[in-house]
């Protein structure tokens, strides 16, 4: 499972030589040709991805880095301004607000998503539950719904003066809750919606992992009289740890770049209170055409994501060894 994170160490060596042989000219040419073929064939096979990687990843990354030192607006010249953009960014309150909101959002969504996806996965795997086939479809439904539509669905639920939630609260004798005009409550709704959306895919990963836990462990533990909770803690959790690691990593990366859901749910409102980082970058880059400045903000986001990934990978390595 973690295999994919590491370079393929166990990929079988192709060019197997069986001891020193006298190399005759003909054989040598044959071997040379064979070697060449093994360079040409994989190169052809990866060519599409290689081309795309260079064009849509390396090129923009390099130009982005260059533009982040300029005040480029998308047209005309790109005057060099040195570290000016980064300096301005450090003093930009809107950027800080977006960064902090993004971190709060991520810190709330990731644990909630993990809990819900692991919980639903366990319920779908355990023999104790009835009616799994329908439950599976319902739990998986949010994956099929796009973030935009999911945002609309939750906007419809939590509308301030038309939503079902407020209607129920009022008819139970409560007061209308300002789900849209209070910044913290808006963020709360976004967090709930994001957890609802993100559960399905992570659940899929957990289900696959849970099914792969060898049953003999559970049998042995049962013979020793271990209870359900003890078995879950001491067998299941360690066994699925590699999957948990990947789920945490991907959820963090995913939450840090959430945009579409918020766009449809409340447009980062009220006002700009809940603008997250990607929305901030989008607004500066494309609505105000400050490409240089937006590139600088992008690189800060990239740096954060890289730090997250590196820290998690190294923590995982240490745990493994």
């Amino acid at each position: 499972m973690v295999d994919s994170i590491h370079p393929p160490a166990e990929a079988p060596s192709i060019d197997v030589r069986r001891g020193p042989e006298p190399v005759r000219p003909r054989q040598r040419r044959w071997r040379l040709r064979r070697r060449n073929r093994y360079i040409a064939a994989p190169l052809v096979l990866i060519s599409i991805n290689l081309l795309l990687f260079v064009t849509f990843f390396v090129w923009p990354a390099v130009t982005g880095l260059v533009y982040s030192f300029t005040s480029y607006t998308g047209v005309g010249p790109a005057p060099y301004v040195g570290l000016d953009n980064y300096q301005r960014l450090l003093e930009d309150e809107a950027f800080y607000a977006a960064l902090i909101r993004t971190l709060i959002f991520t810190a709330a969504v990731v644990p909630l998503t993990i809990l819900l996806s692991l919980g639903t996965a366990v319920l779908l795997v355990t023999p104790y539950t009835k009616g799994k086939s329908l439950a599976r479809v319902v739990f998986f439904l949010p994956w099929l719904i796009s973030p935009i539509i999911a945002g609309v669905i939750w906007r419809w639920m939590f509308g301030e003066n038309f939503g079902l939630v407020n209607y129920l609260i009022v008819s139970l004798g409560g007061e209308e809750v300002p789900w849209q005009s209070n910044a913290n409550l808006s963020l709360f709704v976004v967090i709930i919606a994001a957890a609802w959306v993100n559960t399905a895919f992570n659940m899929l990963l957990f289900v696959a992992a849970l099914k792969n836990v060898p049953t003999v462990y559970y049998e042995a533990a049962s013979l020793d009289g271990a209870g359900s909770w003890a078995k879950f803690r001491n067998i299941t959790l360690p066994a699925i740890a590699p999957t948990t690691f990947i789920v945490v990593l991907l959820s963090v990366l995913h939450s840090m770049k959430e945009y579409a859901l918020i766009r449809a749910l409340n447009e980062g409102g009220p006002g700009t209170a809940n603008n997250l980082l990607v929305q901030y970058i989008y607004k500066t880059g494309f609505e105000r055409a400050q490409i240089g400045y937006a590139s600088a903000a992008s690189f800060v986001l990239m740096l954060i994501l890289m730090i997250v990934a590196v820290v998690q990978l190294s923590m995982n390595r240490r745990k493994e060894s």
């Binding site: 499972m1 994919s4 370079p7 393929p8 192709i14 360079i39 064939a41 994989p42 052809v44 096979l45 990866i46 599409i48 991805n49 795309l52 990687f53 849509f56 990843f57 090129w59 923009p60 990354a61 130009t63 982005g64 819900l116 919980g119 366990v122 355990t126 023999p127 439950a135 739990f139 998986f140 439904l141 949010p142 994956w143 099929l144 719904i145 796009s146 973030p147 935009i148 539509i149 609309v152 419809w156 639920m157 079902l164 895919f201 899929l204 289900v207 696959a208 909770w229 879950f232 990947i246 991907l250 995913h254 766009r263 970058i281 880059g285 494309f286 490409i291 937006a294 992008s298 994501l305």
Partner: protein, 291 residues
């Protein structure tokens, strides 16, 4: 959250009256169905609301079931908001991106699994890096690249950058690692060229992976929002998600049309999922990468 452990069914003789066993079943089932309601209700409410006439949407008391069910919201969305055009555009994007993704991922995954050299190992890490640093992070420079390539406002601009995916590549890589090398060696001894071995022997073997990736890729592209939004400018080229988002962004949200358009846009994916359910649910996506 009630936590129960997966336990091998029927490995031990069943004790029907075992104390705790029955209550565990009841509890686990109850919690699961509670969650089913929590996850399903917002969609159900949305779906039922879309059949209400515009006048009834906000009239108190709210009722779960529409009193005068109508499909006016759908027809209105279909005619007044160019939903048909958006459908067509999204379909073109999703299908072409899916086909290209499968071709590129299968070839690349095969190369990464079956050949060994330092530059292939380096490229493996490069492909992984694309997950860590997604398009959102390099939004503005990526836009400039697409513009400089002359793809701006062209559906190809949505398709082409999306073709390289770490998830797809690694799904195929993991699969081809499990294919025995003997097969490859045998083909070599028989004088089959490397590429023809791949096309004639290896590719047909990977059909289940292809189908799984096809569903995944179709879903990614169908639901994409921010990238199409940036590279498409002409309303005639909008995808469904942008179309729906423009309805949401309007000064006065026309909920009747919005509900209709949203429900319509969900139909294809739900249908595909219901048909190919087992390819999604049984997918052992241990590469575990999400786009």
């Amino acid at each position: 959250m009630a936590v129960t452990t997966p336990r091998p069914p029927a490995l031990r003789p069943k004790r029907p009256s075992a104390p705790g066993e029955l209550s565990k079943k009841v509890w686990a089932t109850a919690v699961m169905w509670l969650l089913v309601v929590v996850y399903g209700f917002p969609v159900l409410w949305f779906l039922l609301s879309s059949f209400k006439p515009a006048g009834d949407l906000f009239s108190y008391p709210l009722t779960l079931f529409p009193k005068n069910p109508t499909i006016k919201g759908f027809t209105q969305a279909w005619t007044s908001f160019d939903v048909a055009q958006y459908f067509l555009n999204t379909l073109i994007v999703a299908v072409s991106a899916t086909v290209l993704t499968i071709v590129a991922s299968a070839a690349c995954g095969y190369a990464l699994a079956k050949y060994n050299s330092w530059w292939l190992r380096a490229f493996t890490i490069c492909v992984l890096a694309t997950t860590m640093l997604p398009a959102e992070v390099i939004l503005s420079p990526l836009f400039l690249v697409v513009r400089d390539l002359g793809l701006y406002n062209n559906l190809a601009a949505v398709v082409v950058p999306a073709v390289i995916t770490a998830t797809g590549t690694f799904m195929f890589r993991q699969f081809f690692l499990t294919v025995p090398n003997d097969l490859l060696e045998a083909a070599r001894i028989d004088g089959s060229g490397e590429l023809s071995t791949f096309v004639r022997i290896m590719l047909p073997l990977s059909r289940p992976i292809m189908l799984t990736l096809a569903i995944f890729s179709f879903q990614w592209r169908w639901n994409d929002y921010i990238w199409p939004l940036i590279v498409l400018n002409d309303p005639n080229k909008f995808t469904l998600q942008i179309g729906v988002a423009t309805i949401v962004g309007a000064e006065n949200v026309n909920w009747s049309v919005l509900l209709g358009a949203s429900v319509l846009s969900m139909i294809p994916l739900v249908a595909i999922y219901l048909i190919f359910q087992r390819y999604v649910m049984n997918a052992d996506i241990n590469a575990g990468l999400k786009d």
